[in-house]
Symmetry: C3
Subunit: 347 residues, 3 copies
């Protein structure tokens, strides 16, 4: 996209959201403008991260991309944790995982599949992703199974241990996929494109975009609380389907675009990589951060969320296992997504 147009869009959406927040009382208007601004700003944050990563070199850049790829999601969740909206945080983690695996991957596979009869990608990568996803399932189910009957203090201790183990596993995964076994996993071609900005500007951009995402995220969280009361939507539905979609919109469109261009491997890597990052990095980080700010959040998800995550992971593993996709597999993913969305809506 044209740079001038891009920055005009950023400025316009920021001004609109600020106007709505400071000068009007119309909650739905405030929510919609904040949501739009977050989507645009998250795209900006993504581009800035990529640009800084470019100058940081392959390895550190890869780490940066992998760690800040879900920065917007992380920032929004931080404000939810601060406000004690733990149910909504966990729902938005759930929603981000299933949204990436079912909605984004489903749309990518379906739209790509309508154009190409069969799209192939690196099956070895798919195998590793499957193992990581099962670690994620285990890490989320075990506390839920074990901790229902435990006193609060034990739930907290176990939550912390699991959070630390997951972050270690995630860091080792980055080392594995970028250092020791980088040669036989990646499927995205090395980025041939020149970065948009100079090194100094890139860092400034990253700082600015993060700041603005943080500011507007706070507005969004206020709006969300109001919206869920007004429409009578449950925290579960709002977190899993409204916040998760807003926080991940930028990445979602990137994955779908790659699939339509015939690069399904890249789309799979973004969709599943982002899910894993949420489960193995964002979620445990939030648990640890919640302790630091004195609002301890545990790692115990509801049976609804666990069922949704397990269903998503199982069907995603089944579909990506063979390293080939077709349109009907997209239909399957989207069907499960719509079933889950309906179920969350009714709860």
């Amino acid at each position: 996209m044209n740079q001038r147009l891009f920055f005009s869009l950023i400025a316009a959406s920021l001004v609109l959201a600020a106007f709505a927040h400071y000068f009007t009382d119309h909650a739905i208007f405030q929510f919609v403008t904040a949501a739009l601004a977050v989507v645009v700003l998250a795209a900006w944050l993504g581009k800035s991260t990529e640009s800084v990563a470019h100058y940081a070199g392959d390895r550190i850049g890869g780490f940066l991309n992998a760690t800040f790829g879900n920065a917007a999601e992380l920032i929004i969740s931080f404000f939810l944790v601060r406000d004690g909206l733990f149910e909504m945080v966990k729902a938005s983690i759930t929603g981000a995982i299933i949204g990436n695996m079912l909605l984004v991957l489903g749309l990518s596979v379906l739209l790509g599949g309508l154009k190409y009869k069969e799209q192939k990608f690196n099956a070895k990568l798919a195998g590793h992703n499957a193992s990581l996803m099962i670690l994620a399932i285990a890490a989320l189910f075990i506390p839920a199974v074990f901790l229902r009957e435990l006193p609060v203090v034990k739930i907290e201790s176990l939550s912390i241990v699991i959070a630390i183990l997951l972050i270690i596993a995630y860091v080792l995964w980055l080392i594995f996929s970028m250092v020791t076994h980088s040669d036989f996993l990646s499927d995205i071609d090395p980025q041939e494109s020149e970065p948009l900005w100079s090194k100094g500007i890139s860092i400034l951009m990253l700082a600015l975009s993060t700041l603005f995402v943080a500011i507007v995220s706070e507005w969004l969280v206020h709006g969300v609380e109001y919206i869920s009361h007004t429409f009578g939507w449950s925290d579960l539905f709002v977190g899993a389907f409204v916040i998760a979609i807003i926080g991940n919109a930028a990445e979602h469109s990137a994955a779908v675009l790659l699939a339509v261009k015939g690069r399904i491997g890249g789309a799979v890597e973004i969709a599943i990589g982002s899910s894993l990052q949420i489960a193995l990095f964002v979620a445990p980080t939030l648990v640890l951060v919640s302790l630091l700010i004195g609002k301890p959040m545990d790692f115990v998800f509801t049976p609804f969320e666990l069922a949704a995550i397990a269903a998503s992971i199982l069907i995603t593993i089944s579909i990506t296992r063979d390293g080939a996709t077709n349109w009907f597999e997209g239909v399957l993913l989207l069907t499960v997504y719509i079933i889950l969305g309906t179920a969350f809506f009714f709860v």
Copy 2:
């Protein structure tokens, strides 16, 4: 089989069942004769469907076969729904799914495996079946997890949404496997055999056999209610192991015969295809039909049924994944079937 013999058998079993129903009071005799007649008539219905499908051309014929392949099961279940025997309907759906996956596939793989050291089939087909099976698991588990605590009206709404989504997914699956990707999935050789009857006779046969299956199914349902009271068998056991076996006997023998002839691919396609048809087409159709006749049945299965279906699907996926079978895999399938049968019997 000789046609004359076949029709003599149909006539004899019909007359016997009618005699038992109208002129005797012996419930067990009525039940046994009705069961026998249903088995024979279901075979006739199957042959008539195939014959009509032959004249309808490849595609529409394929749809016909796929849609009416479980017509007998559907008709019997309809009468159970009409009588409000929802527990037995769901149990018979469960029984048909696990019976196809464990009993039929198990016998086919075991008997085929005693003759051939290893039998191979199209692994791509197995992969697609696995994904559809996981959709089936998700569709059956999600309402059970979410709906236990919901008011009845929400359970009904969600049941309808899921039923419609599953039927759409099933229709798209037929389009996928018969239209857009027919070339790389099928494993059954094109049927070289001539149809038994002319076009007009075939349609008449289909109408007649459907009518007789309907009549005798109603007798059978009456008998079943009596039998389960007399022997103290639970609805769960009767539905899952008595009705399911009677309703699917014709197909079952067809699959086993193919396996013994070395065509394990055909046996797998019948056994798993039939399971999927029950889960993704028969079950949701019954939910929608139950609404139309004013006896709304929901989509919530018991934990027993869900555990049985999940166990069957997991072991079937594991065994068919590699596109090769041997006798021991048949033993595994049958062992799980016997364990489940014993468990259902004791409940």
Copy 3:
């Protein structure tokens, strides 16, 4: 290892354990010495079994190895059953399964992977193991799901049926893997080594080592009861993590050694084979034996144990499916093991 050193070690550990048991009152000292003696004696029992198996010929030897491979575990569990410590027995079965799949396989894969970039093994074997593991999951979950609400007498009956079915399946598996399909499954090179002892001595060794394992196991069980009270550890934790590790230490080190020597196939076969043997042979045998000695134990595991076993099996299947391993897969297995250990500790 040098034979003289080996027997000195056996003698020393036996004398020490006997001294602690008969002449001191210090429970922790008694427990530690008994534990050490069991580890050493189990290694002796293992070597004796191998040696007898050598003289018995390939097939019967294979059966012997497969059946008495977990003799130490079986003997310890027998004493636990006799003392009515059913919770601890089931926990130790759970611990042996997850210890083999996660700790042993994890260490083998990690240490092997630090030396070799990728280690390959027979993927066909992995596929068969996966199917057997799913049978094990089904066999352990089905009673738990079905039996919670049943009267005790039905739980016992179903437990017996399942135990017998599993033993039959296990025997058929041995026939399959050693008789009918021995050619395309095994991954361990035929043992080229000469046996250590003559035929007569080997049998004597087997008898003696079994006797001593039995004697010291009883001391160990006494110590364990005391230890768990003193430290306030739950039966679950002691069974699953203390007893399971002591009872399987000898095998564990054998598997890890093979992996480091580059023979990951052998390590996988030991680790997974041992798990399957526990689930499909040791556990059902204990159920049947418990009846014979008038202390009937059922087959109903706790949700914690089932969750732990399911998590272990799923991640093991995912990692071994492709017939290749690397260091990060070891990290994944060990991470799940540590998470489970922490969770069991807190319960």
